[in-house]
Assembly symmetry: C2
């Protein structure tokens, strides 16, 4: 992969707005564009509220290293009200409990998967790149932070980027990849996040289209009780 | 709806980067955040290439009216290469040809649907708000610009916002709505757009989750030959 785990950068960009003294409400949408690989060393975040309305607030957030812009983000925050609510997406049925699914071995993996407890029900990361192309790239897994940690907006933003690039699941062969743009919609508010606490959430992911060096994938993160916490989409560069 | 058709604003924001003398390649990702309703009158667009790499370019684009910021956008442009390509999303099957589907009557509708020729196969805009709640909000339709016009990136960006808000299809009742954030991934390059020309494209759209004043919907735009031209996602404010 080109550069380190983008989920960390996404979480830091969002956190820069969350910690800002002028922040209104809670995040409902976040888009991160990864402009360059983040290097080891100092990174500075600049969060600007560019428009504040009565119940919504728009942000532009930048990440810099030395003189270089390495990532940009936009975010929308909002003060929510109770309304009619319903979920139309379908949570996978008949999924075994997290305790009944073995944790993915992380020995020898990069640092970032070691910071997650992932339990794949379907579409695991291939144990070997045997080049046996699969019919689809769908994955279903239980996932939580490792060590465990109560879910908050920053960790939910990072989890949105924790789905392995679909091209590895689909083609089971090496490819150079890098996420170029990541969008997450937060359906959960802080009260719902608190209900989830440190438990696993159910992730599902699939690709839509691969073409001429870019593919997109889409994911959902569900609470154990069947609330859609976030939906997330990303465009990924690849070189085969 | 709060404000005019966001698709026009999205197209204009993208066009500001497309027309910029420093532009590299073609758009692959666009996110628009709608900060305030666009009013009749002058609107100014400021497009800045914030990072240019060898084959990708990152943009921040703003739209202003008088002293007010009314929309922000980020875009990623890229020079594409030929690679392994495949589509995983499934185009609806057994859809009748556009000529076999009647055009949606637009008399009495706002200006923007009058600028489209929409032919609904499934999930049409309700002829009356009879409050008969539907099981889902899925729509399938043939759509093209009216008057007809060859497809380009600007019109594809606008088409991405041409799916009626899903809450109207689902609940068949009035609600105040406004898109707050719109993300589109362009799978088509200009060669593929030229193949489509002025013909209809097939649109599909559905909602994922409605909760506490916001819902998200996702859409696909397909060429008649079954190429996924763009996938698009948006978060919508609603008040019931």
């Amino acid at each position: 992969m080109v550069g380190p785990f983008g989920g960390t950068t996404a979480a830091q960009l969002l956190q820069a707005a969350l910690l800002h003294p002028e922040r209104l409400g809670e995040p409902v949408a976040l888009t991160v564009n990864f402009a360059a690989p983040v290097a080891d060393g100092e990174i500075r975040f600049l969060a600007r509220p560019v428009r504040t309305n009565r119940s919504t607030q728009h942000w532009i957030i930048e990440a810099h290293q030395a003189e270089d812009l390495v990532a940009t983000a936009t975010a929308v925050f909002a003060v929510r009200r109770e309304t009619w609510s319903d979920v139309e997406a379908v949570m996978p049925a008949n999924v075994p409990e997290p305790d009944a699914v073995p944790r993915m071995p992380v020995k020898g993996m990069p640092a970032w998967p070691q910071r997650y407890d992932m339990r794949f029900v379907e579409g695991a990361f291939p144990a070997a790149f045997d080049e046996q192309e699969q019919a689809h790239s769908r994955s279903t897994l239980w996932v939580r932070d490792e060590p465990e940690r109560a879910l908050d907006f920053a960790s939910l933003a990072a989890l949105s980027d924790s789905f392995f690039p679909r091209i590895y699941i689909r083609r089971r062969r090496r490819a150079m990849i890098g996420t170029v743009s990541l969008t997450t919609y937060f359906h959960a508010d802080s009260a719902l996040l608190a209900q989830v606490g440190t438990r696993h959430v159910l992730g599902v992911a699939k690709a839509l289209n691969y073409r001429h060096g870019y593919f997109d994938q889409t994911g959902e993160l569900w609470s154990p009780e069947g609330q859609l916490l976030a939906s997330t989409h990303q465009l990924v560069y690849f070189k085969d």
